[in-house]
């Protein structure tokens, strides 16, 4: 139960940060989306994101900074394993499942459903 609670709190707080950025600055949702991935990369490379995952579990991996973290940690891992070429392959390898899922499901859903107006 403890893990669920921590996931809720950490995940919720990251979203609150995004909401405050949208409401208090001129940043649009698209900006926030990109900014959070970049922030995830930065914190991950400083070694600050893994501790957050240890505390929050999915609360830290599900929000977009978690995606940024996967990009960086994937690259580091691959560089350690495969050397220089890891810079080019690591990031995408680590996030391949998510990217493929988004593209495939995105396409499939777009074909199945009609866009809805308001």
């Amino acid at each position: 139960m403890q893990t669920y609670l921590m996931a809720f709190v950490i995940g919720g707080l990251i979203c609150v940060l995004g909401q405050l950025l949208m409401d208090l600055t001129p940043l649009t949702p698209a900006h926030v989306l990109v900014l959070f991935v970049v922030l995830g990369c930065v914190f991950s490379s400083l070694g600050l994101y893994q501790p957050l995952i240890d505390i929050g579990g999915a609360g830290a991996t599900v929000p977009l900074p978690g995606f940024g973290h996967s990009l960086v940690s994937g690259t580091i891992e691959e560089v350690n394993k495969a050397g220089f070429w890891g810079i080019f392959t690591g990031a995408v390898k680590a996030t391949a499942a998510g990217i493929t899922a988004a593209v495939v499901f995105g396409l499939a859903i777009a074909i199945v459903f009609n866009p809805k107006g308001k």
Binding site: T3, Y4, A7, F8, V9, I10, G11, G12, L13, I14, C15, V16, L17, G18, Q19, L20, L21, M22, D23, L24, P29, A30, V32, L33, F36, G56, G57, A58, G59, T61, V62, P63, L64, G66, F67, S70, A97, G98, A101, A102, V103, F105, G106, L107, A108, I109, A110, I111, V112, F113, N114, P115, K116
Partner: protein, 119 residues
Amino acid sequence: MFDSKVSQTEQQQYQEKFEQLKPKTPILKNVIWAFIVGGLICMLGQFFMNYFMSLGFSNKEAAGPTSVVLIFLSALFTGLGVYDELGRLAGAGSIVPITGFANSIVADNKVLFLPRHQL
């Protein structure tokens, strides 16, 4: 009322007037909803993560399949036209989780296809 070239002070004065009359963003309400919805999506993620870990995935390996499931759910609910209703309420709560990324991809994809004739 205005000269053809509006001076910068005039522009500034007007923009200040606009800021005064601008309707306030309900920040507290937005933040609370973002926290609750964002938290719940992450809790759902934790549920799938625990499930995948019970199948023998390591803590780290479980994150991949978890995002795949969440992305699928988000794509499905976008397809059903429900996710944007959630987004109107939750704001960042449904944008910041990986599901928001999937939502924007599906929404963008969908407009590329012409809707078929509705019967």
